[in-house]
């Protein structure tokens, strides 16, 4: 991987003209930023990388439908958000299905195992106890630093609903993290 100064729009055009390798520039450019969101959302880097890989493939195959290549990053982010929802829902079903197995092989923490002590883990744990829509709204607002208009575009939810989700998420987090975050 090397630094590539081309804009997203130029790279998208190159890929659509048959330059597969150019897509690697976009992967390198966005993988870390969106992995952070996916990891926070799914509370598992393995699941997050699955979601992200799937999002990159889906974006590649549908690249021609990216109407504004200058905003490729936002378009990809929407796909990442959706993939995280899909992976999260699938994992819930998987947990239900495999919960009785003596030795789970699904990459989830073993029952009774605590995540490593640490502030990030405690906050992440509190975050993970939130309903999916509230967790998503909290992350987009306070970690990704998006405005409500952008959040609405990404999630398909109305601004009023998003504000309510953020508020409820913050209230629940404050209870969970009392004494941990001042």
């Amino acid at each position: 991987m090397s630094v590539d100064d081309r804009s997203d729009a130029e790279i998208v055009a190159a890929v659509l003209n048959g330059d597969d390798n150019a897509y690697g520039v976009l992967v390198a450019r966005y993988q870390s930023a969106y992995l952070r969101y996916a990891t926070r959302m799914l509370n598992s880097q393995d699941d997050a990388e699955d979601a992200l890989q799937s999002a990159f493939i889906r974006a590649y195959r549908n690249l021609a439908s990216c109407r504004d290549p200058k905003r490729f990053g936002s378009w990809l982010q929407k796909i990442v958000v959706n993939e995280c929802r899909t992976v999260g829902a699938r994992r819930t079903r998987r947990e239900l299905r495999f919960d009785s197995r003596p030795a789970t092989l699904d990459g989830l923490p073993a029952k009774g195992a605590r995540p490593e002590d640490g502030l990030v883990e405690e906050i992440q744990s509190a975050l993970h106890r939130l309903p999916t829509d509230q967790r998503e709204a909290f992350l987009l607002r306070y970690v990704e630093d998006l405005g409500y208009e952008e959040m609405s575009e990404l999630t398909g939810a109305g601004i009023s609903a998003l504000k309510m989700r953020v508020k409820r998420a913050c209230e629940a987090m404050r209870v969970s993290l009392e004494g941990v975050v001042s």
Partner: protein, 201 residues
């Protein structure tokens, strides 16, 4: 920087400040694991090439239900052709067979499933995945240690359908997946079977 009209009136200042403080540690970067970029690009190259916006062939999105209907129509057309063609029995069989295969392929090409393979192999030094999807090459897909100790993992994009696979531990030990259906080949070697896209697992 946020605009004034982007504020959440439902939140008081203290709650907003708490949220900012709680979010700060979560903003720390998360780094992709080694091999993520290479695996992603390999999967991209195996994927359908994106079509230009206005020209060329485009992938048609159909639901499995529609695809089955399409397959039925194509088979009916093919069988109809066979009935009409009096001295082309062999040709009509080929037509029917081709039609039956062709319609589901639309779905298979349109859907790539990211399948996570995992094996608990504490003490192993390397674990590789071999299968019909990589021509049984033990160098093509190398598993990495998962978050759970002793567990190895690899995520592989697969098309819909039935696939056979096995794990190679430390470069020489052939291990079938203990949680999958198994299949024995003509040499009595046991492999595992996964059906992708037939149930949401």
């Amino acid at each position: 920087m946020r605009e004034i009209d982007d504020m959440n009136d439902d939140m008081d200042g203290a709650l907003d400040q708490f949220a900012r403080d709680a979010a700060r540690p979560l903003r720390e970067p998360v780094h992709v694991t080694e091999g993520f970029y290479a695996q992603t690009m390999a999967a991209v190259r195996r994927s359908d090439v994106p079509a230009p916006a206005m020209f060329g062939a485009r992938t048609i999105r159909v639901t499995p239900f529609v695809a089955l209907g399409l397959a039925a129509v194509l088979i009916a057309v093919a069988l109809g052709s066979a009935m009409i063609g009096r001295n082309s029995a062999l040709k009509s069989v080929n037509l029917a067979s081709g039609a039956a295969v062709a319609a589901p392929v639309v779905v298979a090409h349109d859907t790539i499933h990211i399948v996570r393979f995992q094996l608990a192999a504490p003490g192993a030094h390397t674990v590789a995945l071999v299968g019909d999807f990589n021509d049984w090459s033990k160098d093509a897909i190398v598993l990495k240690p998962a978050e759970k100790p002793g567990v190895w993992t690899a995520s592989v994009p697969l098309t819909s359908g039935r696939h056979e696979y096995a794990f190679i531990v430390d470069g020489q030990r052939w291990v079938a997946d203990p949680y999958a259906l198994t299949h024995r080949d003509e040499y009595n070697v046991e492999s595992s079977v996964i059906r992708v896209g037939e149930s949401d697992s």
